[in-house]
């Protein structure tokens, strides 16, 4: 029954995160909160993983740390073998050319006084070896890549002249302008209308396929995670509580939190009241004892209050941090 994780062949790893901790001073009283609390994960070359979880569980904090807009308190972020976790200055700028973030809010993240073309030309000039007319051509190629056509017309528009979906495309184009290999997309569709969400998902999928980008897709929507990602990682209160191939996680969720999330998701078979009615935000205290989900778990046992379950393999591809499934 013992299963040896070393036997599994993994696709070549682009990003290897080990035991990452990000902490902030607690708002009230003393001590720290850790929205990222000993997280380990990998992202393969050309792989898209989805980070799914409760609001406040630390998804954005983790995403921003992966692209090193935040510095972790402890742990490692190996990017192509080099630990970028504590990089600063010039080294960090170099990393930012490889790793980009797409923000949640397509309204707030663009500069209202510049045309789309101007906003894209700046990173193109800085990061691509292009000059003069070539810059214009590169900008138009970028607009083409993200489906903003006719590109020559789109270039001259201001953000307020675009719809939400178009603005999100511009934000994606801007992230692509530096030719990154790795992108964190933080809830890129949650502010958009249902009818235009699919277009952005198709675009991200195309970029992954055609440009070979590796991606971390952050969401609290299981359906879009299933659509876009090969693997889903479920986060709760700063820890990964479940990970596995997207289909398995959606079809047979193992962790009680994943099961609750699925029950609450639109488009799932479930209807009727949820199995819990907690109103408390998750406990992020760095020195929390026991399982992150203990206060809300319908299956909580003695042991869950004393010991913290580690993320353990239940089979070759799946992991769960729950005493019901592993010990």
């Amino acid at each position: 029954m013992a299963w040896d994780p070393r036997e599994v062949s993994t696709p070549s790893v682009l990003l290897d995160v080990q035991d990452l901790v990000v902490r902030f001073p607690a708002k009230r009283g003393k001590g720290w909160i850790a929205p990222v609390n000993h997280v380990s994960l990998t992202v393969g070359h050309r792989e898209t993983i989805a980070l799914v979880g409760e609001s406040g569980s630390g998804k954005t904090t983790l995403g921003r740390t992966l692209v090193r807009l935040l510095k972790p308190h402890a742990g490692h972020i190996f990017y192509q073998g080099q630990d970028v976790a504590q990089w600063t200055g010039r080294q960090l700028s170099a990393y930012h050319r490889s790793a980009q973030l797409i923000f949640q809010d397509p309204y707030g993240s663009l500069n209202p006084v510049h045309t789309i073309g101007t906003q894209l030309a700046l990173p193109v000039r800085l990061h691509r070896p292009a000059k003069g007319a070539d810059v214009t051509a590169e900008v138009e190629a970028l607009l083409q890549d993200v489906g903003l056509t006719p590109a020559a017309e789109m270039r001259d528009k201001y953000p307020h002249e675009l719809s939400g979906g178009q603005r999100q495309r511009v934000a994606i184009a801007r992230a692509l302008a530096v030719n990154p290999e790795f992108i964190v997309a933080d809830e890129p569709i949650s502010m958009l209308d249902v009818s235009i969400r699919a277009g952005i998902l198709h675009l991200l999928q195309k970029l992954n396929r055609d440009l070979g980008l590796s991606m971390v897709y952050i969401t609290h929507d299981l359906a879009s995670a299933w659509y876009i990602a090969q693997r889903i990682l479920v986060m709760y209160a700063g820890v990964i509580v479940e990970a596995g191939p997207s289909r398995d996680v959606v079809k047979q969720p193992q962790h009680p939190y994943t099961q609750l999330l699925l029950a609450a998701s639109p488009g799932a078979q479930f209807s009727g009241p949820l199995p819990e009615r907690s109103t408390r935000p998750p406990n992020l205290a760095i020195d929390r004892v026991g399982c992150a989900f203990q206060d809300r778990c319908p299956h909580v046992m003695e042991r869950c209050r004393r010991e913290t379950p580690a993320l353990r393999h239940t089979d070759a591809s799946r992991e769960v941090a729950c005493f019901l499934h592993s010990d």
Partner: protein
């Protein structure tokens, strides 16, 4: 089931047209007529910018920078636009209340939840501080918050808890009509679902009439008795809650698109189906149907004439193609 008089109309809109002041003025709600019956949850869905919040503000008579240029709005039989300022002040919150779209930030950050609730109660009812506090506690328990929330400041609560407080305040004076403008948008999926369960539960027990506004199609269709679909400032369909989830039922092509766009978790393969194109600019609407440029069924007539809301089977729909098909099926069709 409900003991209230069946079919009495709590909210009635007649040919409501609303424009924001220019220059030039922009009409964003066009000729909307709608009745909401006592004790029902009517869902109002539509894309961002379709005019849902504008309509809600007009009902509350709190439009800023905008005017109801024609039409009439009555709530509980009273003409909202025929009241004096003082009458209106008393009417609001007692007879009709609203949970605002930005409700999460609608609480005063420097007052405790208890202080805000007591203030609201005392400004409308002649209650002593003690009684008001007791009523506040009762309201909090309705939305499943415990007593400790009374002494908390808004920033000490999670988004979901703040949202519950705002809902508790909206129903504080037992209004007959509660307008909820995206009451759960931006919240976590699980929290959304819990709050919805609570809204339905409170509604069942207290028989509020609720106008529930959202652009989240599966969310609205899961709780509403009837759903009105808005597109570019007009209502294009009104259906029963059950019919609205059924793609096989007769629907407006926009509604069909929305139903198909609901992400599915039960199938074998994940899907992501959208509606191509973007909604029209209200400053620059096409002649004819506003949906023509995104519609897979578009016909020449759609580019000439705007369709009218007409009963088709058990729904009401504004679509030339759907109306024509229905006429053909029943052998009434010309060509």
């Amino acid at each position: 089931m409900s003991e209230s008089v069946p079919n009495d109309v709590v909210l009635s809109l007649r040919h409501v047209t609303i424009a924001y002041n220019g220059p030039p003025p922009v009409t964003v709600v066009r000729d909307v007529s709608l009745d909401v019956y006592s004790g029902e949850i009517l869902g109002l869905i539509g894309e961002s910018g379709s005019g849902k919040s504008t309509l809600a503000y007009a009902i509350m008579r709190i439009l800023k920078n905008g005017t109801m240029t024609s039409g009439a709005i009555t709530v509980n039989g009273r003409n909202v636009y025929g009241m004096s300022a003082e009458e209106l002040r008393r009417f609001r919150w007692r007879e009709m209340a609203m949970v605002f779209q930005t409700a999460m930030n609608a609480l005063n950050p420097v007052l405790t939840v208890g202080e805000q609730m007591v203030d609201t109660l005392q400004s409308h009812l002649s209650l002593g501080r003690r009684e008001a506090r007791a009523r506040a506690l009762e309201l909090l328990s309705l939305v499943r918050l415990d007593a400790s929330v009374l002494d908390s400041y808004p920033h000490e609560l999670s988004g979901g808890m703040r949202q519950r407080v705002v809902i508790a305040i909206a129903i504080a004076l037992n209004p007959r009509l509660v307008i909820m403008d995206e009451p759960t948008t931006g919240l976590d999926v699980v929290v959304q679902r819990t709050i919805l369960d609570e809204i339905v539960d409170i509604q069942r027990r207290h028989h509020y009439t609720i106008l529930f506004i959202s652009h989240d199609f599966p969310l609205v269709s899961s709780i509403a008795d009837r759903v009105a679909v808005m597109y570019a400032g007009q209502i294009v369909e009104i259906s029963e809650g059950r019919a609205i989830q059924d793609v096989g039922h007769v629907h407006h092509p926009y509604t069909q698109g929305l139903i198909r766009a609901v992400p599915q978790l039960i199938g074998d393969e994940p899907t992501a189906i959208g509606i191509p194109g973007n909604p029209p600019d209200p400053r620059n609407l096409p002649v004819g149907c506003a949906y023509q440029d995104r519609c897979p069924l578009v016909q020449p007539i759609c580019r000439r004439e705007g369709p009218q809301l007409t009963p088709v089977g058990d729904i009401v729909v504004a679509c030339h193609v759907v109306q024509q098909e229905e006429a053909n099926v029943h052998g009434l069709g010309s060509s």
